[in-house]
Symmetry: C2
Subunit: 347 residues, 2 copies
């Protein structure tokens, strides 16, 4: 099996190294032969080649069996809205080229971190949400540009029935293996794309009579996620709403630094932390590598079907936390300084 | 002074009556002469006239000095994404016709409700955020429709420099009267409308050297609102992001039932609760009327410049809460049944 490592920018470099080391150790322990290669993407790729997703990276991606990815982004471009070449273009192009239309973001709280969240433990306890974020459509990929002498900007949001149906089915099927509840999030009281979305999910529902379906408006869902996270089981939503709601939901898991994601679709799957490149803490060795480690676990489970190997990683993370070790983002006032680990040690 | 009362749908009817009664009492107490009229909007207007915003309502709106509004919406339309006439069209048309481009949503926690939120009190204490949500542009008002034989839906998001500048200035000016911090929220790493938004806010900043400006991506802002609400002072953002973030932020204030908003712009201001028509609790007499009462306070302050009158209302709400009275949404395990008020009594 070929695994391509794409660390990207900022703390992506630091945490992906740890994620890879875990894959190496698991392969040793279970006697697997994984072959690793590495490739550039994002700001580092722009610096090296002028292109945020060089052709060489894309062909390596297509040739690999799974991809462990870090993060892309750089403040340089954030501060310059007129920049023509941007790290995020590489990310979006990868998603489109590899047909990664389904982004799975499991939000599950490790019991030991109940106290680390800003939300009350009694509200959080037992929360377990699986988000399906559509990843190759919506306002991310529609036509965009300027008109009226550069005085008006526009972005077009688009969804086809087919696009909604394929992500909808994935979500319904996942709900079957879990709590049998599906919440579809849209803004059908305003958006035509959302009305199509709701129509398609409503049309699918009779095929899954065992699943309890509800539709929520995105504003209301953003509120309920914090008010009562346990009411959610599987959530399916469009690209932009999924981006916002899953970042928000990271607070349910105590820290963004704990959350892994899987992007799957037509071919090679990509596994990455939900967090970004975080240039404010880059180089300090304090980034939490557990999201990358848990991404490696998702990779083994989803792309390779290696359940036991995947669970071994999750159990190791659990033990680390039970033993009281913390990176800074999940430490609290009661954590002794000697229990605070840097990125490498946590790996 | 003419005040138009537009209760709208669902609990809008119940809470707006209470808000109006408070205006009547304040007028008595302070010796003002307010003239009231009432008009239909939303589902009730569709039932009566076929139009969610009848011409008669619109002319009454234009003729009034301020509007106290309830909510619109009905599950009938939510469950039928193909309905051509919808209550929300009335709301959007009102915003556009009256030029209500600035929606102010103050998120402030009454100390007595520290415990009512799902967020920890020590995270919340002292939070005080003023949102400026742009209200007449973005994907709400761009072209929308179907193509490819009804198999593709689209919504166009648009912003002009002028639209961003006028809401930006309002937010900068408000920041001057408060904590002197402005956070502009966008998704400039993906959207062209957001890049224009960021350009314009960056260009305004030098005119307000006393204001500390930061730019955050909407996903990250959704996370930080819960993780550390006190870091925000004034927040300015686009229509759709503002819709989502302010509903989310309602959890900072303990309950959506506490939050008032003001929509202002070219002419008559509209004052309304952030909450919707809530048909699930309509007719039960349990809706929290305080958002409507506080909307009345905003009306007196912003449209009529009656500061003392406005503060009298806020103080009365504070006293009600201090005395231990609660509606159901803000009650907790320690609230005695006899302290739980219905909608009328809370007014
Ligand atoms: C970096 C950015 C373009 C990206 C997105 O919005 O999809 C990120 O926030 C994510 O969630 O993966
Ligand atoms: C009812 C709906 C169209 C409306 C909006 O999205 O603007 C509401 O959610 C609000 O925030 O006033």
């Amino acid at each position: 099996k070929n695994i391509l490592i794409v660390p990207g920018d900022g703390i992506g470099q630091e945490v992906t190294e740890v994620g890879k080391n875990v894959l190496v150790k698991i392969a040793e322990k279970f006697g697997h032969e994984f072959v690793y290669d590495e490739a550039l993407m994002g700001h580092v790729a722009i610096e090296a080649t002028g292109n945020p997703l060089p052709d060489e990276t894309l062909s390596k991606m297509r040739a690999s069996d799974a991809i462990l990815f870090g993060a892309v982004g750089h403040p340089k471009y954030d501060n310059d809205p007129t920049a023509k070449v941007r790290p995020e273009q590489g990310l979006l192009k990868m998603r489109k080229e590899l047909g990664l239309y389904a982004n799975l973001r499991p939000i599950k709280l490790f019991d030991e971190l109940l106290g680390a969240s800003s939300i009350k433990p009694e509200i959080l306890k037992g929360s377990d949400i699986l988000f399906f974020r559509e990843l190759t459509g919506d306002i991310y990929f529609g036509e965009k540009g300027r008109k009226n002498d550069n005085n008006t900007a526009f972005d077009l949001a688009e969804y086809s029935r087919y696009e909604v149906e394929r992500i909808g089915r994935k979500a319904f099927e996942a709900a079957r293996t879990r709590g049998k509840k599906l919440c579809s999030v849209d803004k059908a009281n305003v958006l035509e794309t959302s009305r199509l979305w709701r129509e398609v999910i409503q049309a699918l529902a009779p095929e899954y009579p065992d699943i309890e379906v509800e539709h929520q408006f995105v504003d209301s869902a953003a509120m309920m996620l914090i008010k009562d996270p346990r009411r959610f089981d599987v959530v399916v939503t469009a690209n932009l709403f999924g981006d916002i709601l899953t970042d928000e939901a990271s607070q349910i898991a105590g820290s963004m630094g704990m959350l892994a994601s899987a992007s799957v679709g037509d071919s090679t799957g990509v596994y990455e932390p939900i967090h970004g490149s975080a240039h404010d803490i880059t180089g300090k060795g304090i980034a939490n590598p557990l999201a990358s480690v848990l991404s490696a676990a998702l990779l083994l489970d989803i792309s390779f079907g290696l359940k036991e190997e995947s669970e071994t990683i999750i159990a190791a993370v659990d033990k680390l936390l039970k033993d009281g070790f913390r990176t800074r983002d999940i430490a609290d006032a009661t954590t002794a300084p000697e229990m605070i680990l840097n990125t490498q040690a946590a790996g």
